[in-house]
């Protein structure tokens, strides 16, 4: 039985258990008082039976699949000839790999000798036995447990509380997955970054003014020695993000004000979804647009005025990134402006304030904390944005604030450091993790500030 059919069978069994439990609940109910005499509603008894039928078997199934491979491999290795078993662990794992490839019919390194063929056959045998055993054990466990629970069903059984407890545990597990994943990501990045900082002092990284990560891999190789000062890279990110925000904040904010305060319902119903389409365009497409349309346009225009514009200018990447971010700013600002109570507008209008005075002096200030929160979220989005800058910003880490020159960003450097065949013990590759860690910390701080500001805003009218 393959794992998939086993799973489906388990599901079918569970649904059968549901009906079994429910029917049993009706049967044990007091004939006079009917289902009123049960502690919980009949479906809870059904659910309880179904959960007990499905969950233990699923658990067994998961554990079995996790350890199956290791156990079978160990069994097979134990039967291999003496001279193979005494090989070094590296070589042994190669042999095991070959056996597994042989089992699944893939290409094998070297030629097949009889002992390996025998091992592969043995592997296949054990695997077949194992999956058959799993099916038998899991299904009989499901049936036995379901029947046992069914026997325990009586009016006093607190089925609802037990079902709710199980559901609560499932909900808690789901909500912690995101947290543990975040922690896992941070730890993995942190681990590699610490290895980097063991080679390159952290002060050199944080305060160095030169970024040139190429370095000789072998002693006899000709190459630059490598300089890992993060400041030019972060400055590039800051420059491009700043240009993006200069584009996105005024345009986004003003379109939000127009949409929420001036536009009639019909226009709003059309314009708002259209603006949000901007957010749905893949960033790769923005990248083409920046590299192939905007950058040459800026260079040519600059040429007309006698300016020396590099073909991969920070301006082009920043402008396009700004356009990408407009819907973030406008959509979030629109929401907070709409959340400002109509009573405040009425109050200002009732005092004789004009429409524009009401907006600039009452509505926008009242919405400002929310708007700031939205803008900060947009900033962290701009800082983390990768695709546009990979395509439109340069690779040279120039320490400059001139938007007409090429700069590079943190994300671009991480991509270039890790693309292609790399060895993971050279500072060059490890630098990517250090950059990633720093970037993560920066956006984390921005997000925390944004959340704090947004929360403060919520207390405003209450």
């Amino acid at each position: 039985m393959t794992p998939l059919t086993l799973l489906i069978t388990l599901l079918v069994l569970s649904s059968a258990a549901f009906y079994l439990g429910r029917r049993r609940a009706f049967a044990v109910a007091d004939p006079q008082k009917g289902i009123q005499s049960l502690h919980s509603r009949p479906s809870y008894y059904g659910l309880l039976t179904a959960l007990w039928c499905g969950l233990p078997s699923l658990l067994l199934f998961g554990v079995w699949l996790t350890f199956e491979n290791t156990i079978i491999t160990n069994l097979v290795v134990a039967d291999l000839p003496e001279q193979v078993r005494t090989l070094s662990p590296d070589r042994l794992s190669l042999v095991v790999n070959d056996i597994q490839n042989l089992v699944s019919g893939n290409i094998v390194s070297g030629e097949i000798n009889p002992s390996m063929q025998a091992a592969a056959d043995r592997y296949r045998n054990i695997q077949a036995t194992s999956s058959a055993a799993l099916a038998v054990v899991a299904l009989s466990l499901a049936i036995v447990v379901a029947l046992a629970v069914r026997r325990r069903i009586r009016p006093t059984l607190r089925a609802r509380n037990q079902v709710e407890l199980v559901i609560k545990i499932i909900l808690v597990l789901c909500s912690t997955i995101a947290i543990f994943t975040t922690i896992g990501i941070v730890l993995s990045v942190l681990y590699e970054a610490i290895r980097f900082f063991q080679i390159i002092p952290i002060t050199d990284f944080l305060f160095g003014l030169e970024w040139s990560p190429q370095m000789a891999i072998r002693a006899d190789q000709v190459g630059s020695s490598g300089a890992f000062g993060a400041i030019p890279v972060f400055l590039g990110t800051a420059l491009i993000s700043a240009i993006a925000m200069v584009v996105a904040v005024p345009i986004g904010l003003m379109s939000a004000i127009y949409l929420s305060e001036y536009a009639n319902k019909k226009f709003r119903a059309v314009a708002k979804p259209l603006m949000e389409i901007l957010a749905g365009i893949p960033t790769v497409v923005y990248g083409f647009f920046a590299a192939l349309t905007v950058a040459p346009f800026i260079r040519n225009t600059g040429g007309v005025f006698g300016l020396d514009v590099s073909s991969e200018s920070a301006l082009a990447a920043g402008l396009v990134m700004g356009i990408m971010i407009i819907p973030f700013v406008s959509s979030l600002s629109d929401d907070v402006i709409n959340a400002v109570p109509q009573a405040l507008r009425d109050g200002a209008l009732g005092l004789g304030a004009t429409h524009s005075e009401t907006i600039t002096q009452i509505v926008v200030p009242a919405a400002l904390p929310g708007i700031v929160g939205g803008v900060l979220l947009a900033v962290s989005r701009a800082i983390g944005e990768t695709m546009i800058v990979v395509m439109a910003a340069g690779l040279a880490a120039n320490l400059t604030a001139n938007p007409l020159q090429a700069v590079t960003t943190v994300t671009v450097q991480i991509v270039t450091l890790l693309v292609g065949d790399q060895e993971f013990d050279s500072p060059k590759t490890l630098a990517a993790f250090a950059l990633g860690l720093l970037l993560f910390i920066v956006t984390l701080i921005l997000n925390v500030i944004a959340l704090y500001v947004v929360r403060k805003y919520r207390e405003q009218y209450e």
Binding site: L344, G347, G350, A353, I362, P365, Y461
Partner: protein, 286 residues
């Protein structure tokens, strides 16, 4: 007293249509005019997206009087109130017909701008709505936008005078820079009244100003309304008939968009002339 020919009013849709049919062409009972009127309304009709909400209401608002508007929910008293300073302009699909004048000038005329009009006819809303600014800024906001003062000292004086008039000065004078939203409900409402009188209006409209307040705060506001009458005309919409009888000199009874009866407050509450008015004040419905 009750005419058995007329069915008892119930809050049902088909009854409402029947009643509207009966009310058609109703002529207001009582004296709609007043000597030296501040505002006059003649034959005012209001429509929300084509549905008529006010039917041919004519009413004068005299100087230095408090006129109360009472009536069951949905009778159009708030709608009529909001016509008086054109707050209805902000509602999409709202159309006002007829003539409303302030000091003999039609406020719906083409020459009138709503901005100065609303400075002359201030409004206090049902729910206190202080701006999320400091207490000082709340009161100073109106004088600032209308340029009523030359310097900070004058502005300070207006703020202080308005707060004294609103009976709030003693409670807030030590925390003028604290947010107005931090005050209690009754204090917030008095702050909104102070904010309104800071721009020196002629008429103050009050849309159920006490319905969100406790009895003690309500009593304070009612005392305040009585004092304010010396300088302003006050139009107050209220659900509480006791309140109407306590604070007002004249009372207007609205029913389904019609002005049924208007007269001196004591007379309305003791000897109503229209049967609908009587039904309402004796608590037969509403």
């Amino acid at each position: 007293m009750i005419d058995s020919q007329i069915p008892v009013i119930q809050d049902k849709e088909h009854d409402k249509e029947k009643e509207l049919e009966m009310l058609k062409g109703l002529k207001t009972v009582g004296e709609i005019t007043a000597p030296n009127p501040r505002m006059t309304c003649r034959n005012v009709n209001v429509y929300y997206s084509g549905v008529q909400a006010i039917f041919g209401v004519s009413l004068d608002i005299a100087g230095n009087e408090v006129i109360a508007m009472i009536g069951p929910s949905g009778c159009g008293k708030s709608t009529f109130l909001r016509c008086l300073n054109r707050m209805n302009d902000t509602i999409e699909g709202c159309r006002v017909e007829g003539e409303i004048t302030l000091d003999s000038e039609n406020i719906y005329g083409s020459k009138i701008d709503v901005v100065p009009l609303r400075a002359q006819v201030g409004i206090v809303f049902q729910k206190p709505n202080p701006f999320p600014k400091s207490i000082y800024e709340n009161v100073a906001y109106g004088p600032k936008i209308h340029g009523l003062t030359q310097n900070k000292a004058e502005l300070d004086e207006i703020v202080e005078r308005s707060l004294i008039k609103a009976g709030l000065w003693g409670e807030v004078k030590d925390r003028m820079d604290k947010p107005g939203t931090g005050l209690s409900g009754g204090q917030q409402q008095r702050l909104c009244i102070a904010r309104t009188i800071a721009v020196s209006p002629e008429v103050i409209l009050m849309d159920e100003p006490c319905s969100a307040l406790d009895p003690i705060a309500t009593a304070k506001i009612e005392d305040l309304i009585d004092e304010l009458r010396e300088q302003y005309s006050i139009v107050i919409v209220t659900h509480s008939m006791q309140q109407a009888s306590r604070v007002s000199q004249r009372t207007a009874y609205f029913h389904l968009g019609y002005l049924v009866e208007v007269g001196p407050t004591p007379q309305i509450f003791t000897k109503p002339r229209h049967r609908l008015t009587e039904d309402y004040i004796t608590g037969r419905f509403g």
